[in-house]
Amino acid sequence: MIVSKRLFEEAEWDFATLDRTYKAIEDIALNDLKLDVYPNQVEIISSEQMLDAYSSMGMPLMYHHWSFGKLFAREDTMYRAGYSALAYEIVINASPCISYLLEENTMTMQALVMAHAAFGHNHFFKNNYLFKQWTNAEGILDYLSFAKHYISACEERYGRDEVESVLDAAHALMDQGVFRYRRPPKPSKERVLEKRRRRAEYEAEAYNELWRTLPAGVEPPSAPPMFLDEDEFDGDIKLPEENLLYFIEKNSPALRGWQREILRIVRNMAQYFYPQRQTKVMNEGCATFVHYTIMNLLYDRGLISESSLLEFLHSHTSVVFQPEFDDRRYSGLNPYALGYAMMADIRRIAEAPTAEDRDWFPQLAGTGDWMAALRDAWANYRDESFIEQYLSPKLIRDFRLFALYDKAEDGAYHVAAIHNEQGYRKVRSLLARQYDTSTADPNIQVTGADLKGDRTLFLEHKMHRGIPLHHATKDSVVAHIERLWGHDVVLEEVAD
């Protein structure tokens, strides 16, 4: 009699099966693929909880704001009407790395999702240089919990409308609230805790029962300055400054302490998510490649059945499906498709290169150790540099990529390059440019602030290749900035 080695046969899952499967996946991930991951924490959630997580930036806890409620209402309607399926998982860049699995998934899907999130994304978070440098996986949950409590305390104290208007304005500037080049001071867990403790202490000391007897609208004699001496504005204004939120937080003549703290919270969130925006293709590509490799190894070793493999392949192919540009379903390049294809291509070039590959990738072609090459790529690149470095002519042909040149005044697009010998390099570097957030986002800087005079704030949009800001949104964002700054704001658009 043959005893089946299979981890599971049924579509239904239970915790024992999950555990068994997790261990098998972990074995492959750590020993075969040599991945390096944060400790995992896998949580099973219901579809409603998944929608909750969707609408709070994918984080397990988040401060309250109406925009999250709006997002939830929209997602909920789409989901109920069957327009959109829920993601199978959400994963959080934290240590321990938290992955959410949807309870409705079949066992095969749970295996896929664990491989994808708990090992693929997790490895990427832990090893990619952007995440290492710019985010603090240990501290994020503590910080969120601080942010949530702080903001709800502010709501109680200063009123929901007050807090809402600061958050609205801060959210409008989120894209301009990151340091792109300069490293921000990194708040360590201890420092955040220390700060929080000192803040609480200060509040407790400064609390005076008498304030409650003041009529509404009258400020207590000295509203507690909730931001204390650390990393404070030192009197010098350093210009130009690309981080508008930072500049306003430090220099606005109109803001009070708690409002500055809220700006800082939003700015920290923006900074935390900035690496994810720069590595969509790589992050998803890494996770997709890892789950594909692991699931196939599980099958090769007889640990999952053929029907499981087919179910997995069905879902995998729909994840990496790329509609063509003239397809109704087209909505940009699918990061899963491009990322996975590039990772798989690196493996192909390392294992079985063609003459063309040897020309293009002499360092990589035929080395055989594709996992080492991938681990290196995952650690040291972001989307832009990764595409510039690794997009092969074969993939350009497979995707039938072509580049268009567009001038606003012209009545037609010009085909600049296609997937041929003359075009490969051009298509590749244009595509890479497309993933460069510093050219895709408007480049807006603070160029001056007349602090001694009428306190006008001067902003400058350096137009990249003459592309201006969208008119209507520009005005409403400037109105938000004026609210934060308390005085006139002038935004000028200049040629780069």
Partner: protein, 435 residues
């Protein structure tokens, strides 16, 4: 080390606070949308869970974004080339964006125009009936039935186990354990471990002494753990509630509806919608309000809710029969000293000739002195609405009732000719008086 955590039983509705903030933010748009959807809803569906489509005005989240269509130049890469060669030109679609650039618009959070979502019945009704109230609701009597409500009344030392206050109980227990120096489990375990280690050593005079000392200490610690309990009855605290009387004012609403032959299907539908709204409003805001349904043709009957809204009947029209019926019911069951009395009457304005005068007499002499508020709603078709554009012109009943309105401040007359009028009229009739 991996942890699997089953979060499915965690409390749901984590984003409820966000939803409330969103509804509050978009209130103006939502109210418009609710009104619009009310117009099209079937009578029975008014106030049910509904899908609301609102514009994003007021809930916009602007961000700076680039507008490559306005000026400047750019390159972009697309997948799926079929026949293009370098140098080819592709005409831009007129007015719209280029191929496949749809994503750009939706990413920015600005491209979206309207969006739909589902509101629960409670949310819809809250918005419906915001700032509405029954006018002049007063406590009319001293002997009114008092209802009672449970209110929190601090913490007690006795109570039923379901009302145990865990936090207070555990806090007391901890304080007591600290004060009594109850040895912790880990301290006992440490001693046991030390003892084992000592016993494993070569027995010497010194270790023997230490073992016996330790044994004694351990025995004392274990004994102390026994008599200083982890939780002691003296620690236990209960939430306490007391019954408090709350004064209520009693009110009754008389709904009088004309169902005679002159009222067409359309008119009846409008009247029913109005009463449905009234019914929902009273049910939601005033759980102590009695509602009396009276319908009339050439004679009047008191009917139940089901019959009032859903049954069909036809006949001639004598409006005063309904007023008679109302007075009869009032005398029987609702004495003015105990009840606030309200009435709403809907009719197409036609009645037997001479009957209008009788109605006015009854109103002036018998009914209005009893009523806190009387609303008369005349249902017209749209052509009539144009003819009777002025407040003073109208059918017999309308003209007669205007004289009543001149005399009594708490008598209101309104006209409805299409479903869209119902909600504004309703709001006008029951608007909260400015304080």
């Amino acid at each position: 080390m991996t942890y699997f955590i089953d979060r499915r039983l965690n409390p749901k509705g984590k984003s409820l606070a966000n939803r409330q903030r969103f509804l509050r933010r978009a209130k103006a748009q939502i109210r418009d949308a609710v009104q619009k959807s009310l117009k099209d809803a079937a009578v029975a569906d008014i106030g049910k869970e509904r899908k609301i489509k609102i514009s994003t005005k007021g809930t916009k989240e602007p961000r700076f974004r680039l507008d490559p269509k306005a000026a400047g130049e750019r390159d972009f890469v697309l997948p799926g080339n079929k026949e293009f060669m370098p140098g080819d030109e592709i005409k831009k679609p007129p007015g719209g964006s280029g191929q496949g650039r749809g994503k750009e618009a939706s990413d920015s959070g600005e491209g979206e125009d309207d969006f739909e979502f589902v509101m629960s019945q409670d949310e819809v009704l809250d918005i419906f009936f915001e700032d509405l109230e029954l006018p002049n609701l007063v406590r009319t009597t001293l002997k009114e039935t008092q209802s009672k409500a449970w209110r929190r009344a601090g913490i007690t030392t006795a109570g039923s186990p379901t009302q145990i206050n865990l936090i207070r109980t555990m806090r007391n227990a901890q304080g007591r354990r600290l004060a009594m120096r109850r040895p912790s489990l880990s301290a006992v375990e440490a001693m046991q471990k030390e003892l084992e280690e000592l016993e494993a050593l070569q027995p010497s005079e010194d270790t023997k002494l230490r073992i016996s000392a330790l044994k004694e200490k351990l025995a004392r610690a274990i004994a102390k753990r026994k008599w200083v309990g982890f939780i002691d009855p003296v620690d236990v605290r209960f939430n306490s509630y007391t019954e408090q009387p709350i004064p209520t004012s009693q009110a009754v609403m008389f709904c009088l509806m004309d169902v005679s032959g002159s009222m067409g299907e359309r008119e009846k539908d409008l009247a029913k919608r109005f009463y449905m709204l009234l019914h929902l409003f009273l049910r939601r805001r005033y759980d102590k309000v009695d509602i009396v349904f009276i319908r009339h043709t050439h004679d009047a009957q008191e009917v139940d809710e089901q019959e009032f809204f859903y049954s069909r009947q036809s006949g001639g029209t004598i409006v005063s029969t309904a007023l008679d019926k109302m007075l009869e019911v009032q005398r029987e069951r609702y004495t003015t000293s105990d009840w606030n009395i309200y009435a709403a009457q809907a009719s197409d304005g036609y009645t037997q000739s001479g009957d209008a005068r009788r109605c006015v007499e009854m109103l002036n002499n018998d009914i209005m002195p009893l009523c806190q508020y009387y609303a008369y709603i005349e249902i017209l078709d749209e052509r009539e609405m144009e003819v009777f554009a002025s407040e003073d012109s109208g059918a017999e009943l309308w003209r007669a009732y205007r004289t009543v309105a001149d005399e009594w401040k708490n008598f209101a007359t309104k006209r409805i000719s299409k479903p869209a009028d119902i909600f504004p009229v309703f709001r006008e009739l029951f608007k909260k008086a400015e304080a």
